[in-house]
Structures are given as structure tokens and as C-alpha cells.
Symmetry: C2
Subunit: 320 residues, 2 copies
């Protein structure tokens, strides 16, 4: 009997700032059992791991216990593939360097691998989603921030320190919007969900055009509100997506010079805006791409369900 048949499952953990979702995944990429705990509320990371292991028990019972599990993959903010650590994650309670892989290995008795959330999403997309079979491509995650996973020759680019692939912090506008990283003009200050809300406030302030967005408290406007307004035919909302897509399409045309990708795959809440965001991305990409790369890359939306992609992606690490 093959090893993979004796241990036909892996655990995938999608750790977000708020929630941690665990999936037990089989070799075909089916999540056969799932559970979740809060990420917040455990000032001591050991308590977090203990709570996770406890919450995992019923899910593990479904597949016959931890004996049936080959390994665990963890996608976490600032997750470091080389070190198995979470390092200086601004959105988590634990400061400094957390050896999260080692802690789970000890608690569960199976090997654990760590990567960051965007790389996990890229692995999920490559194993089970829109990038199946692709060797050179770029994943762009559009959430609260903008993340990326860069793939060269079928492998995630980790670089010299495990932190490669931070295209959300590519500075696309000299002296542009201030970013949480302390610098200015980073892509994520424009093209994340919060970037779209920022653009909405800017556009509302500098124009007098009527818009249903004016009925909302400016500080509470979300990218989803902008989408709803666009759906009602609001010209200002469409302009906001046009601006966002133009920035992102131009940035991607630039990123193509790095690995001449066969595709960009976009993932995350902002993709729900559909053609309002994807059409301007495509127009700006085509208008700005260097001629040798023209027409070579597909611009795709993730084909995985948002809740599943990150868990599946993390789980893919568990097979390594």
C-alpha cells in the first residue's frame, strides 16, 4: 500500500486577521471536513494552537483521525516559507517571530509548512483553479490589502528570504497616497477594497455629480457600496472602478516585464465587481503592455470559491 493511501488527507489552514478556517482535504482537492476558530483572543500563541487542535478533533474524526493525515499547510499573514514562521504580522496579536509551523507540528505530530496568504491562494489556483497547469503566471489578491503570488517555472517565487512577491507594495505613483507600510503610492492604496473606498471619498469630494453614494457616511463607504451604486447605473461609481482598473491594468502590464506571465489571476472581494473592474483592467493592460508581450497573458478571475481557495491553497503545501 502506498504512503499516500495510508495518509490520504492534508490539513489546510487559512489564517486571517479575524478568523482561522481549517479544512481536511483529500487528494482530489475536496474539502471533506471543515472547522474554524477566531484568530483574535489568544494573546499567547500556544493557547491559539491548543484551541485549534481541540476544534480540529471532530473534523479529524470524520476521516479516521490524525493518523490519516500526511501533513499540514498554513497560509498566514507574513507567513515565511523558509522559516515556517509568521514574522511581524501587523494584523495579528502575536509580536515578532512566531514559529507557527513548529508549534502545529508538535501539537499534531505531522509535518507543517507555512506560506503567506496570497501565495496560498496562488497554490490553490494552480492546483485546483484557474491556473491549473500553468507554469509562469501571477496571482493578485484584492482584499483589504493587495497581495500577490508570483509563479516561475511552476513554483512560487520565495526569493532570498521567503518574503518575495509583495506587489501590493509596488509604488505605482510617485508621491501618491500614504500607505500603512510608511511609504507612498503603493498599489494597495489604490486597488484594494479600502483603496476603492478611498477613491470614492476623493471622487465625491472633488465632484458635484449626483450619486447614491452621497447618501452614505463617507467614512463608512465600502467597495461593495460602490458596486451596488454601479449596478444602479451610477456614473460616479463606474468612474471609480474605471480609475481602479486603469491603475491595476497598467501595473500588471509593468509586472509582465518580470516573468512574462501566461496569465494574471485576480482573487478576492473586489472581483465581485465583475465587468466594472475587469473591463478597465483589460483595457489598461492592452494599452500599456510592451509589444513583445501583447496578447500573451490571459486576465482571469479566480475559479475557486472565496472561502475555499485559501484553505485549498494552504492544504496543497501539506503534500510537500
Amino acid at each position: 500500500m502506498e504512503l499516500t493511501n495510508e495518509k490520504p488527507y492534508v490539513i489546510g489552514l487559512d489564517m486571517g486577521g479575524t478568523n482561522s478556517v481549517f479544512g481536511i482535504v483529500d487528494q482530489r482537492g475536496t474539502i471533506v471536513a471543515q472547522t474554524a476558530i477566531k484568530t483574535k483572543g489568544y494573546p499567547d500563541v500556544n493557547d491559539y494552537v491548543a484551541a485549534a487542535v481541540e476544534a480540529l478533533q471532530p473534523a479529524l474524526d470524520v476521516v479516521g483521525g490524525i493518523e490519516k493525515v500526511r501533513g499540514m499547510g498554513i497560509g498566514a499573514p507574513n507567513g515565511n516559507y523558509y522559516n515556517g514562521t509568521i514574522e511581524y504580522a501587523a494584523n495579528l496579536e502575536w509580536e515578532g517571530v512566531v514559529p507557527i509551523g513548529e508549534l502545529f507540528e508538535k501539537a499534531l505530530g505531522v509535518p507543517a509548512r507555512v506560506t503567506n496568504d496570497a501565495n496560498a491562494a496562488a497554490m490553490g489556483e494552480m492546483a485546483y483553479g484557474a491556473a491549473k497547469g500553468m507554469k509562469n503566471w501571477i496571482m493578485i489578491t484584492l482584499g483589504t490589502g493587495v497581495g500577490s503570488g508570483i509563479v516561475v517555472d511552476g513554483k512560487i517565487v520565495y526569493g532570498s528570504d521567503g518574503f518575495a512577491g509583495e506587489l501590493g507594495h509596488f509604488m505605482v505613483e510617485p508621491n501618491g497616497r500614504s500607505c500603512g507600510c510608511g511609504r507612498r503610492g503603493c498599489l494597495e492604496t489604490y486597488c484594494s477594497a479600502t483603496g476603492v473606498a478611498r477613491t470614492a471619498r476623493e471622487f465625491l469630494a472633488k465632484s458635484a455629480a449626483p450619486s447614491p453614494l452621497r447618501d452614505l457616511n463617507p467614512d463608512a463607504i465600502t467597495s461593495y457600496d460602490v458596486f451596488l451604486a454601479a449596478e444602479k447605473g451610477d456614473a460616479l461609481a463606474m468612474e471609480i472602478f474605471e480609475f481602479t482598473g486603469e491603475m491595476l491594468g497598467r501595473a500588471c502590464a509593468n509586472f509582465a516585464t518580470f516573468n512574462s506571465p501566461e496569465a494574471f489571476v485576480f482573487f478576492g472581494g473586489l472581483c465581485k465587481a465583475g465587468h466594472y473592474i475587469m473591463d478597465p483592467i483589460k483595457r489598461a493592460y492592452d494599452a500599456n503592455i510592451l509589444n513583445i508581450y501583447a496578447g500573451k497573458a490571459q486576465l482571469l478571475v479566480s475559479s475557486l470559491k472565496g472561502s475555499e481557495a485559501a484553505v485549498l491553497g494552504a492544504s496543497a503545501l501539506g503534500w510537500e
Copy 2:
């Protein structure tokens, strides 16, 4: 007897728009014989290959003939590693797609591999120069244009089509200077030798400051003239390098988000400007680097002689 002892040499060809330099290289990276022909003047590429083979004979005789040669590596403008071709090179006489690898294979009877000139320089640097032993780093060539070779896990990034790594055409300034590629704001319009000359003309026009550069015909100013003026203590010339280095350092800080390099290695005529260019590059890099990458990458100047690096780099392909 080992194969490598029977065939202990490779041929490296550095093909430029004007000259083609051939070196016979041993396993330690010593160029044991060298020859050159003009690249221009052969409208039919077959005539170019025939002239090259003829010119190579005396050099081959030095090592005991083509029987002693394991393979050939060719670094050429728009050289494509996957296809062994030169494709639509603006600075060469041959139009369209030229199967240069195949032509040399047939003419010499040894395997031939092709890459572009910047990737060849990167291979030379990694095999024999400043990037020896490095796995993740970026080569930036500062010549008439700006070229790049991106290295991930010890291998040149070729991407989906063999044309990856064109950072000279990264658009660093929205609506910036017009570029030969038909777009605007490409890095090479600022940071190549011709970009420096362009900056000189701009700075001379918009300021009235005295400068020895004013004694020259503006259209004939070269980056070397700017260097000579800086050496004489000319403030305007230093400002020109400051501007150039600032652009390049900021761009490199952005490029670090791709592969988190352990080094950038700069190569080409502009490096002769020494600290006038390297100091502002370093200052701008440090001022703009994302905190997780801070202090991680060395900013180095190529340690190979200009004339040798490209030949050595191309020759490294001959061992593959």
C-alpha cells in the same frame, strides 16, 4: 576519460548591434582565444554565420579544433532561450525571426544555445563575477538601453515565452519620456547612457547654472561627458547623476518586491561614473525599500571586465 576532458572548451558569442565578439573559453572561465567580426554588413544571416565560422578558425586552432568544443552560447539582442532564435531585433539587419542557434549548430557541428545580451551578462556574473554563488538576484545592464536578467533559485527567469526580464521597459513615470518601444516613461529613457544625455540636455535647458557641458553641442553630449564634468567638480553634472541614481534606486526598491534579491549587480558603461551614480542609487534604494527587505540586498558593480562579461556569460550557456 570524461566527456568534459575530451571537449574542454565552449564558444561564447557576444553579438552587439555593431560588433560580434567570439571567445573560446575553458572550464575555469578563462578566454583562451578571441576573435571578432562586424555584425552589420551581412544582409543575409547565412553570410554572417559563414564569416563567423571563417573568423573562428584561427581561434579554434589554438585549442585543437572544433572537436575540443562542447557547445556554443550566444548572447544576442532579443535572443530567445526557448526557441534558439533572434526575434524582431530593432538594432540588427535581419528582420523577423532568425534561427541563429540552428544556423551555428549546422555550421559548426556543436550544440548552440541562445539568450539575450542582459541574460548572458547575468550568467557571466553568476558563474565568474560579483554574483558568484547567489541564487536570487537581479542584473541591471546600463548601456545604450537598460537591460535586465532576473535570477530566481539560481536560474534566469525566462517566463512563458523566453522574453521575461525586460525591466528597462518598466514604466517608472506615468506620462514620462517617450521610449523607442512606443510607450512613455520606461526606465531606460532615464537611466541608460542615452537617458543620462537626455537628462543633461533637459537640465541645461531649464537652468542657467554655469557648466562645462555648455561648451558642447547639446545633441552630441554623452554620459561620459557628464562624468568628465562631474570629475571637474561641476554641480550640474553631479545633479544629473543624482537624478539618474534616484530614479534607478527607487525602481530597484520596487523590483525587490518581485524576488527579494540578495543583490542587484549593475553593469555597463554608466558604472564608470562610480560613486557619482552608485551613491544616489544606494540612497534612493534605502529611502524607498519596503521595511521587510531593508538592508537585505547588496548593490554591486559588476566585477567582470566589460569586454569579457558578455562573452563569458554567453559561453556559460555552452556548457548546458
